[in-house]
Amino acid sequence: MILILSLVIAVIFGSGAFLILQRDLFRVVVGIVLISNAANLFIISAGLTRGEPPIYPLPEGAPVADPLVQAMALTAIVISSSVAALLLSLVYRLYVAHDSVDIEDVSAAEAREAEALERGENPEREEEPRESPADVELREDTR
């Protein structure tokens, strides 16, 4: 059981690690969610006892599941979901600013901005969102 649990946790973590190395920011968020899932599962499986739920009236004689790890996992789940929400809105924001969810595009725009700063120009003016007509049409359609 121990070995199987470890393997499953490792597979979830490894998949998450692979995803956050992608250039698609959406996949990066998915990867982070997966990694937090792995961590939560790890916390729960690190419980010292397994058994019945720790709710009164406690069963006589039967083992009771460790309540401490459950409380910790609860906290962790809520926090990781908030982090995921924040990341998703950041991705959306980046799309609004750069018209792309590709990290390469964002990096390139950042580099351009830094160069413009070094040349002493005002980067704010250059970074007006450029929207192609096709995008506008598409959005009209989907509405």
Binding site: S6, F18, Q22, V28, A85
Partner: protein, 761 residues
Amino acid sequence: MPLVVALLSAPAAAAFGMLRPAGAAPVGAAFCALAFGATLWGFASGGGAVDVAWAPSWDLRLHLELDGLAALYALLATGVGFAVLVYSSRYLPLHLEHQDRPLSDGTSFYFFVLLFMGSMVGLAMAQDLILVFVFWDLTAIASYYLIGFDSHDPDSRASALMALLVTGVTAVLLLIGAVMLYAAHGTFSIPELAGRVEPGPLLTTAGLLIAVAGLAKSAQVPFHFWLPRAMAAPTPVSAYLHSAAMVAAGVLLLGRLYPLLQKSDVLLDVLLVVGSLSMAVGGVLALTRDVLKQLLAYSTVSQYGYVVVMYGLGGEYGAVGASFYVLVHALCKSALFLSAGTVTEATGSDRLSGLGGLYRSMPLLAVGSGVAAAGLAALPLTAGFFKDELFFAAALERGPVFAGLAVFGAALTFAYTWRFWGGIFLGTSDAEADRTSGVLVLPVVALGGLTLLGGIFVGPYLGLALAAGSDSLRAPADVVAAYHLDARPENLMALATYGLGVAIVLSRPLWSGAAGALSRLGERAGPERLYGMGLRGLNGLSDRAHRAEARDLRSRVAAILLPGGILAGAGILVTPTGGTYRVGTVEAGDIPLLLALVPVAVAALTTTFTKRHVTLALVLSSAGFVLALVYAFFGAPDVALVAVLVETVLTLLFLGTLRLIPYEVLHRQAGLPTEKRPRKVFFAAVAGASTFAVVWATLSRPAPERSVAEEHLKRTPEAHAGDAVTAILADFRGLDTLGEISVVALVLLAVLTLLRGGRLR
């Protein structure tokens, strides 16, 4: 008490300066005079000491004592500080006027000069190495702002940075040396250390580190380059920096730690070599400079070289002579700097080649600075004569070679001092001098007068130096300085010095080419170039590291995952874990759990090759829901319920975000070729493997006998709860939950801000 006054003076002057810019100078000068008086009174009434435990667990004590050495430097800092402040009350408004800056800029000047003075007094009195370090850095900070006072000038800023870096980096060596001594002897207190240290490699190393800090502060070769650059400061600052603060702090440290340093012959030899080199290099370069303040700066390098040599020579004459030398040098050098400032202010020229014949238009200044110059050149009837007498005596004790060296050094001093004074005031030139305010002349005359007074009544000066010298030696010193009209060796050496000095002055055409070549060589291949290269190299390195780290998110992530995985793996490899890994048993009751785990793993793997984003989000949420099932099988219904709730919200969030971003943009992503796939798989595999090792090792640990959970379970009814998890969250670990709630609230605020802003303007 003097320290309190001195430290109070800076904020007081700043406060007055904020009310009325013109008020800062008089208030500062008044405080200066008060601190001077307090020091004098305190020393005359037998000194005084404060010794308070500061951080007893670390053996740190606030140990201040007004002993002879402290009195000497504190009197110099406050006395010369007074003269400088009086001088700047007239000079600074002119200086600001030249640069079209408001008068209120001067307030910060007075603040930092007085802070400088306060930290110098504190440094003089500190008897604890950590306290020394604190005051030491305070002087460096004050000097940074003073040298960079003309902050609009890039050259001035570069000079300030150089002074800060050279003295600040070497100050770290002082701290390292102090900690080494503490580790070996268990105390930071200098008097206690003096009784405990034994000669040996430890003392040599620690002493060397501390001595390097002192030598860098005193601008000795090879750290001398920052001092001439520091001339970018306004003239009163230069005068103060050179005579009574900053540069003097270096030799003060040597004098304070002399009881330790003198136990190691290696250290004394190092001091001798460095001091002689500085004497020669500074003297020769001073002969080549045309800019007045540059000439004086190199002369300071050379003069402190004397002091270092005297400490290196050791003995009564060495220790007392060094203190006496610092005292006389401070008087003469500040007078010469101030007269350079006055001359430049009156004529507009700061170069020797544009000056000359000024004794006609400025007779009083000529006399005042003439006396000071005579003091520096060690002519009889000035206090300077005795400084060289003691120097010669100390050199004679060691042997004829050192005596010859001493004569040569003193002759160089004679030559460049003559060049400075004679170049300004003698000869003919068409330099026109405007009328100058008396305030710009009087301090020079007063300092010159003090030099002359010391030549006639040497008693008080020598008394101070004797007290300081015996503190350095930790033994009563008895040295007599008087005029002897006989052919004793010291007198003959003085005569030889004058002769050689005149010869150097007269034979200028013979050696000026060689000296110029030396100066150019120093610029080409000197330590200043090394400093510049080091600075540029560090800057480039930081730029490259920044570029590599901050430009690309993925390489940053990989840079965490790979070393993290390798380190965790290595940690597990070196930890003896033989036999602790357990495979565990699968019981009948575990079958549902097992069946739930498999789809989670499959779903996680599926996410890695799903192309379409909607599918990806659905696969992710299916993994989350199955995970909730796993929690339920673990006997955690609370977690399972929350997981279902959270997973529902998260799925909606993902789908909602996908709805907000046009299909086209996402499709472009989905269709991208997955480049560098093997590398990413490798990184992910390393991360996964190390996770596996860590998790397996953790889960294999046998459970301890007693767990805090038992107590939680037992006390749940007392918390009026039926569910132990609820009781833990709301009661036993309520603070954690409070933190969690604040995180959620913050995230809500952030998401709201991010979404509501719409398009970036």
